[in-house]
């Protein structure tokens, strides 16, 4: 076994271990020098990225990977139930992990200048890396309790990061709200995991999925898990924490929080598609649970879109408007996922139309996860740049910034077009998939989706007009363009956005389709895991 095979074999735990060790080394390294510390963090995340590429290549060519901690096949006592913690990596995991590492690297790059004047930078980097670690863990793990542990790490570090501006009472308020809501959500998820353990004597997702009977308790568990994870991903009507958390934390923290939020969404997908896959993903009119869950998820998605867009219209705080737009974007993903479930439930063997439409909706929804992270992320980075230059976030006190901040203006324009789904940006590619496929399910859904998208454009054109255009405000005469590292980070995101917008097929064929297939293939997932233990 040469070294490359060895690295490929052990890459799943290394992806979690490298950022974790880096997190605790960072305070030591920052004793030397700030620049060395930043470089160190960037290099270690770069190594993690390389590991992810190696693992991704392996998984996309050879299929699902299982990594069992503490050795392979049966226990010494001959026990064959998978009692060990294991990581399970399929196309969906790879897709999410790649999103997370992109967000993490750009966040560190952006923070280089953005956090320069703040105190406690060593702790800041430690917390960011721990948040990245926990996000990776949530995405890689195949064990429900392990998932809960990483979820709690994610909650604790996010809360500490939201409260990073300890001197501002607003951010303390947001952090407290976040920790209360997320710890209650996490406790209910733990309760649900306990219920599953009581029935099936297992914590491994595949084992539970194999054994699940859809009893009364399983229905309760389904509701608790979906509610807890939808809360974590900021779906309306549980979006209140997200608004405060996104708008009151530093911009680079918000950027990485998006990744943690999407990990919650990923957990929800795993619950619906893997654990309950055999119960919910059945075709034919006769099967109702899948249809009911689909309708509920779609309805909540539409509600999120409405709340996000309409509340964004009447706000006057830049960051809060983007936070509402983020809620709307989450709604698009849930709309697409719900449409898939509805399409699947309505399709019959002689009528595959709905199933095809549903599959496109699923692909659009998954593709939108990547696009949402980049679009909303870019807008938050621009908001952070504006705040860095002017110390203002209210629309009423800003204006005429395009004169002094040329590049930031261009990046905002790109983000604006992308978030409202205009060609040739990436948002267009995924939203078009969602429009087309939801039209097949129900035309009303796609009309709502298109109208709300246009309203988002209206929201951000207003922002653009009042922040970057218009007469020069005397107090903002001496505003300078932001430092190079922030520009580089924004340029990187903008570049990826345009690249995906111009060549969406590359991403759809190589990442989104394997992810969608991995989610749909519940039986394959279960048999691979149970066969590999």
């Amino acid at each position: 076994m040469n070294w490359f095979e060895l690295i490929t074999l052990h890459s799943p735990p290394l992806i979690v271990a490298v950022p974790l060790l880096t997190a605790f080394l960072t305070p030591l390294v920052s004793k030397i020098n700030d620049t060395i510390r930043n470089l160190f963090v960037l290099i270690m995340l770069g190594i993690t990225g390389l590991l992810i590429l190696i693992l991704g290549y392996d998984v996309l060519t050879n299929g699902i990977r299982v990594y069992v901690f503490g050795g392979g096949a049966p226990l010494p006592s001959g026990m064959n139930i998978p009692v060990r913690i294991m990581f399970e990596i399929d196309g969906m995991t790879i897709f999410m992990v790649i999103i997370t590492i992109i967000l993490a690297i750009i966040c560190i790059l952006y923070s280089w200048s953005f956090m320069k004047k703040e105190d406690g930078q060593d702790k800041f980097y430690t917390l960011i890396l721990l948040l990245v670690t926990s996000t990776f863990g949530m995405e890689l793990t195949g064990d429900l309790f392990n998932f809960f542990v990483f979820l709690e790490i994610s909650c604790i570090t996010s809360c500490a990061l939201i409260a990073f501006y300890v001197h501002k009472k607003e951010s303390l308020d947001a952090a407290f709200k976040y920790i209360v809501i997320s710890s209650i959500g996490a406790l209910f998820i733990l309760f649900a995991i306990g219920l599953l353990y009581a029935q099936y004597n297992a914590l491994n997702m595949a084992t539970i999925a194999n054994a699940i009977q859809f009893t009364f308790f399983d229905k309760i568990v389904l509701v608790l898990l979906i509610a807890g994870l939808a809360m974590k991903s900021g779906l309306a009507p549980m979006h209140m924490w997200l608004l405060d958390a996104y708008s009151r934390s530093p911009a680079s923290v918000t950027f990485i929080l998006i990744g943690a939020t999407l990990a919650g969404l990923y957990g929800g997908l795993r619950v619906i598609f893997t654990i309950y896959g055999n119960q919910l993903l059945n075709t034919g009119f006769t099967f109702y649970p899948g249809l009911i869950i689909g309708i509920i998820v779609t309805a909540l998605g539409v509600l999120s879109i409405f709340i996000g867009v309409f509340m964004a219209l009447k706000r006057s705080d830049f960051k809060k408007m983007i936070a509402y737009a983020a809620v709307a974007e989450i709604g698009y993903m849930f709309l697409a996922i719900g449409s898939y479930l509805i399409g699947l439930a309505l399709s019959a063997p002689d009528n595959p139309q709905m199933l095809i439409a549903g599959t496109y909706a699923l692909k659009g929804g998954l593709f939108h996860i990547l696009n949402d992270a980049l679009d909303i992320g870019l807008l938050f980075l621009v908001a952070g740049a504006v705040y860095y230059a002017t110390k203002q976030t209210s629309l009423n006190s800003l204006g005429g910034l395009a004169r002094n901040m040329k590049y930031t203006t261009i990046f905002f324009l790109i983000g604006l077009l992308a978030v409202s789904g205009m060609p040739p940006m990436n948002g267009f590619a995924s939203k078009l998939l969602i429009y087309q496929s939801t039209y097949q399910i129900s035309p009303i859904l796609s009309i709502i989706a298109i109208i709300c998208s246009i309203m988002l454009l209206a929201v951000f054109v207003k922002v653009f007009q009042s922040i970057f255009l218009g007469p020069e405000i005397p107090s903002l005469k001496d505003v300078k363009e932001v430092p190079k590292s922030m520009l580089a980070a924004m340029a990187l995101v903008a570049g990826i956005i345009i690249f995906i917008g111009l060549f969406p097929n590359i991403i759809i064929d190589n990442l989104v389709t394997p992810a969608a297939e991995a989610l749909q293939n519940t039986t394959g997932y279960i048999s691979t895991i149970l066969g590999g233990v």
Partner: protein, 123 residues
Amino acid sequence: MTMMYNIPFIAVVTMIFIGLYAVLFKRNLVKIVIGISIIESGVNLFLITLGYREGGVVPIFTSAPSEVVKNAPGSMVLPVPQALTLTSIVIGVAVLALMLSLIMHIYDHYGTLDVRKIRGSEE
């Protein structure tokens, strides 16, 4: 007799509801934190209760009765729920400490712990 076995589960549900009541209706931040702590104890009690198996033996190899080891080696319980509870308690302590330290900072800034008076500026 079956009622006896249900008592822990009744306690679990009661504790979770008491905790939820405190979180939803109490106005003092410390009381909200106490509510979360009670929910957490309820969930931990639930996990521990799951670990009980009738006729099971504590999974400590050296202290198990010798006839059990010889005749019914399968009667040792798998200590997963206990391990889960330990982990959950540790996480709970961390969350509790974080929440209390946030409350300290909030008190510094607002001078009160009443949720009605603690509002981030609504723009």
